[in-house]
């Protein structure tokens, strides 16, 4: 207890007051006076009396020092002193401080930004109750289940306290602004209960509200939708809204930070799953009871105390039962569990790989910044050797000197970290506000939270230890005698050993980052030149969904044809058609097809193919070459036998034939035979990275789809063409909301986006690396020249030619750059695989790219050495020998 009081008193005494010092001096003075008087009384002379008194006291200054040590907290006091000294030193060389803080800010900032993204995607828990208990269900083939399978899992499992199913659903919503297509979520009745979310207004729907199809026209609004589309109407609960031209009742509003369980998809409203027939408006067999459509996402909450492994075993037992009961759909069914938030491993896998790869690159940038700083600091430390030597010789403890050097590096590092965090903060806000160039509401909340702050702090301190270790160690090894005697001038031979390593490291890192940048740019270039299977130039598209607008099949067929007729008459139109969707857009569908000659084909013989429902003239409009057979005509309708056109890859993979015209295949395990009447060229359908995927085209008159994309090839500019197309549709139905309008190239932005994003990110890293390397090498060469002014002066005075001076100054640096490049080259080749996973088409073995990198590094070396080298050549020997 008393100890605590003592420490408290010491803390209080920290702001050392003058009064305290005066008291101390007064007390000691009075002590001495009394002692001297006693001594005089004992018969000593005045001088002797004083001397004896002082001896007995033990030296006034020493007593004062001991007193001071006990009075305050010496550790804190010296720390403050070090801090003030560090700030003073840094203020004295503003150029160095600015460069150092900027380099660190860039290095730490970029790491904080990437970590912010990783935090948002992988670390931050969902804003629901006990998110650790939630798992996402996948199976071997898909990341989604069929709805009847979901129901069986829900009813038969023993390890989940709840299983929910949900489905992304576009809907037509009428709000104060008119009818628009919005993106919502169909969710089973237990969705909100299992997640444990509470409404901010009204209520949510519950399992009792989701029992039978078409009987629960309810909607729950997201907070953003409530504010944005309904103006934050306080009386919204109970109001009716029209979704797909039918009335729904608003039950309540979700809390502002709840955006569903998928991090990348923020639905505007939730509708009970049983309303699916009205929301999706598919014709054909009811989706809710169809075991062969696998597009329900399933999420479960584990019972408390149940492990993932136990739940998985339970699920797979049920899977075996389902396989026995429905072998045609569920044969070989096996489940996997994944972390919720990124559509299982479909997005999760690539997202993890990509962000961790980028974090690796960011770490390299930071390393380069640290190398930069370490070399600058060791140079500075060499300059301050005299100062350190003097301090050591008047009695400073070595540990104190080292601590002061470390304090300086820590101040730099924290300053850089603070600026870097600020930059990351601003950039992540911008990133959160950014919307992807597509018609689909992808957005992320990457705003930094406490985890990112701690990360930035930790990285700052780690960086300080990295680049501060060298100068601190240097300071601790200073031989005071040698320095004070010899003046510390070094002739630059062996003393540069450590700085040489730093230059090599920097150049190697720079090489790797520039290589990554150029390789990815080249990959992007390749991507832009690849064969897509159609010619997007001069094609404009407009999309609309007649099913969502309440059209019956008959009416939608009629409207589609009338729209086409109208558009074909427009001036400047070379060719027009419509289809359900276009390749490389977000709306892609697959089906499983089977070769015809197998008697009783099994599930495993099936081949998955992307399909489209197209009108006659589609291929001509899209610029897809017809290799054999014929296009559809307007006579290929319901009364004709079943027909299809396939691409060459389909023919090869399903029918093992180069010319599939006239051959047949089966659509679905028990589907009818379909005749192939034409073969078109191969192309890209779902992503740019696929290779020779089979595709199948149905005549839209036989396979109707009310989701429509209108394509027009014309010589007019896209903006004008789109205007005309919109007008043509509006004349036929002014209420119909249109989406996805623009040139086909614009629409393709979605497909090209990942590669473009990666290329931009990598280029940014490359530029950062170059900036850091230039400042680093420039600093070093300047320093080397400055140190050797005398030597150069002497050499010139005895007749050295400029080329010899050049060799002297540049020789070492150029060797170091060469060595660094060699190491960088090896590293770049080794990490080529990593790069290929990030950027499509990137190959690290491309000789032209590598040559470009080498040239860049060489240029970089020359540019950064340019100014100091010129200074070296201009050295006037007389002046050089005079000063110093």
């Amino acid at each position: 207890m008393r100890q605590l009081r003592a420490w408290f008193q010491r803390l209080r005494a920290l702001p050392i007051s003058e009064q305290s010092e005066r008291d101390l001096s007064a007390e000691l003075e009075s002590h001495l006076q009394m002692h001297i008087e006693d001594n005089l009384r004992a018969g000593m002379s005045a001088d002797e009396a004083r001397r004896q008194a002082l001896l007995k006291l033990g030296g006034v200054e020493q007593v004062k020092e001991h007193y001071r040590e006990r009075r305050g907290i010496p550790l804190l006091e010296t720390l403050f002193q070090d801090l003030r000294y560090a700030l003073r030193m840094l203020r004295r060389s503003p150029g160095f401080t600015a460069v150092a803080v900027l380099s660190l800010a860039l290095g730490i900032g970029v790491n904080a930004l990437v970590f912010s993204v990783i935090n948002a995607l992988l670390l931050r828990p969902l804003p629901v109750e006990r998110p650790g208990q939630l798992v996402f269900l996948e199976n071997k083939s898909f990341n989604s289940q069929s709805f009847p399978n979901y129901r069986d899992l829900r009813d038969r499992n023993t390890t989940f306290s709840g299983l929910v199913g949900y489905r992304i659903a576009p809907m037509e919503l009428e709000s104060t602004g008119g009818a628009t297509r919005i993106w919502g979520l169909l969710a089973t009745g237990n969705y909100f209960d299992v997640l444990g979310v509470h409404p901010v207004m009204g209520r949510f729907f519950h399992p009792a509200d989701d029992l039978r199809p078409r009987e629960s026209p309810y909607a729950v609004l997201s907070y953003n939708a409530w504010r944005g589309r309904f103006g934050g109407d306080p009386a919204i609960v109970g109001k009716t809204v029209r979704i797909n031209r039918l009335p729904y009742t608003v039950l309540g509003v979700a809390p502002p930070d709840f955006h569903g369980t998928e991090l990348w998809y923020w639905p505007e409203l939730w509708v009970p799953m049983m309303m699916e027939p009205q929301i999706e408006n598919y014709t054909g067999t009811g989706w809710l009871d169809n075991r062969s459509t696998w597009d329900t996402w399933v999420l479960g909450r584990l019972k408390p105390g149940v492990s993932g492994a136990k739940a998985l075993a339970n699920l797979n037992t049920i899977a075996a039962e389902l396989a026995r009961e429905h072998p045609e759909n569920n044969e070989g069914l096996q489940f996997k569990l994944a972390k919720p938030g990124l559509a299982g491993d479909y997005i999760g896998g690539p997202a993890r790989a990509f962000t961790l790869g980028v974090l690796g690159l960011a770490a390299l940038v930071l390393l380069a910044a640290c190398a930069n700083l370490a070399s600058l600091l060791t140079a500075r430390a060499a300059d301050r050797q005299r100062e350190i030597a003097i301090r050591l010789s008047i009695g400073a403890k070595r540990s104190r000197v080292v601590r002061q050097v470390l304090t300086e590096t820590l101040v730099l590092s924290l300053a850089g970290g603070a600026v870097g965090y600020g930059l990351a903060f601003l950039l992540s806000e911008a990133l959160t506000r950014w919307r992807a160039p597509m018609d689909f509401p992808v957005q992320f909340d990457v705003n930094p939270d406490w985890r990112v702050f701690l990360f930035a702090l930790a990285v700052s301190i780690a960086a300080a230890s990295l680049f501060g270790a060298a100068p601190a160690w240097r300071a601790s090894r200073t031989d005071a005698n040698a320095v004070l005697k010899g003046g510390g001038a070094s002739w630059g031979r062996s003393r540069l050993a450590f700085r040489d390593l730093l230059v090599v490291l920097q150049v190697a890192l720079c090489f790797v980052l520039v290589a990554a940048c150029l390789i990815s740019l080249r990959g992007l270039q390749q991507t832009l030149k690849m064969r897509l299977g159609f010619e997007p130039e001069d094609v404009s598209v407009v999309g609309f969904d007649l099913g969502l607008a309440g059209y019956s099949d008959e009416k939608s067929r009629a409207l589609q044809q009338r729209v086409l007729e109208t558009v074909e008459q427009l001036p400047g139109v070379l060719s027009a058609a419509y289809s359900n969707s276009v390749p490389l857009s977000i709306d892609q569908s697959n089906t499983t097809v089977y070769p015809p000659d197998k008697a009783g084909p099994r599930c495993s013989d099936g081949i998955s193919a992307t399909y489209y429902q197209v009108a006659p003239g589609f291929f001509a409009t899209m610029g897809t070459r017809l290799l054999a057979g014929r296009d559809f005509t307007w006579h290929d309708d319901d009364n004709s036998p079943r027909l299809a056109i396939v691409n060459a890859a389909f023919g090869r993979q399903v029918l093992h034939s180069e010319n599939a015209v006239g051959k047949h295949f089966r659509n679905g395990l028990s589907g009818p035979l379909v005749e192939i009447i034409g073969v078109v060229e191969d192309g890209k359908y779902e992503s740019l990275t696929e290779f020779q995927a089979p595709a199948l085209f149905w005549p839209i008159l036989q396979n109707h789809n009310s989701t429509t994309t209108l394509e027009v090839r014309s010589s007019l500019p896209a903006a004008q063409m789109v205007r005309e197309m919109r007008q043509a549709v509006a004349e036929l139905d002014p209420q119909l909301p249109l989406y996805g309008t623009g040139s086909l190239n614009q629409m393709l932005g979605f497909a090209f986006f990942p590669t473009q994003a990666a290329a931009i990110a990598l280029s940014a890293f490359g530029v950062l690396a170059i900036m850091l390397a230039v400042t680093g090498i420039h600093g070093l060469v300047s320093y080397a020249v400055a140190r050797r002014v005398r030597e150069i002066g002497i050499r010139v005075a005895v007749g050295a030619r400029p080329s010899q001076v050049l060799r002297l100054v540049l020789g070492r640096i150029m060797t170091l750059i060469a060595v660094g490049s060699a190491i960088g080259l090896v590293l770049a080749l080794a990490t080529g695989q990593v790069l290929a996973s990030v950027v499509y088409g990137a190959s690290s073995r491309d000789p032209k790219t590598l040559a470009a990198v080498v040239a860049t590094i060489a240029l970089l070396g020359l540019v950064s050495s340019w100014a100091p080298t010129r200074r070296a050549l201009r050295i006037d020997p007389v002046r050089a020998l005079r000063c110093e």
């Binding site: 100890q3 003592a6 007390e27 009075s30 002590h31 001991h66």
Partner: protein, 112 residues
């Protein structure tokens, strides 16, 4: 800069407290002289070590200080025992007695 052992600091503190109890309020010089006297001049302490020790006792709250005037009309800082200090003195004195008694038993000739 010498090393000071905590044991030495501890006994010095005890001696200071006892001196103040016996003599009443006293200034630093007086305490030092009195300690030397009481030990029969066997203990020759370095007067300088007294002041940090006095500060420690003051921080712990066992003694309190005031500026006053000495016999020779000099300004001096006087220290006095607090109630807590008195209690601490009793405690420490008892501890010392116990300690010396135990050691004495070890050092006494075998009684067998």
């Amino acid at each position: 800069m010498g090393e000071r052992s905590d044991v030495w600091q501890g006994t010095l503190a005890l001696m200071v407290l006892k001196t103040l109890e016996a003599m009443g309020p006293l200034h630093g010089y007086g305490i030092a002289r009195r300690i030397e006297q009481t030990s029969g001049n066997q203990l020759l302490i370095n007067y300088g070590t007294l002041y940090p020790a006095l500060l420690k006792l003051e921080q712990e709250g066992y003694i309190a200080s005031d500026w006053g005037v000495s016999d020779n009309k000099r300004k001096a800082k006087y220290y006095r025992l607090t109630r807590g200090g008195r209690r601490q003195l009793e405690r420490e004195a008892k501890q010392w007695e116990q300690a010396t008694a135990i050691v004495a038993r070890f050092l006494a000739p075998e009684e067998q």
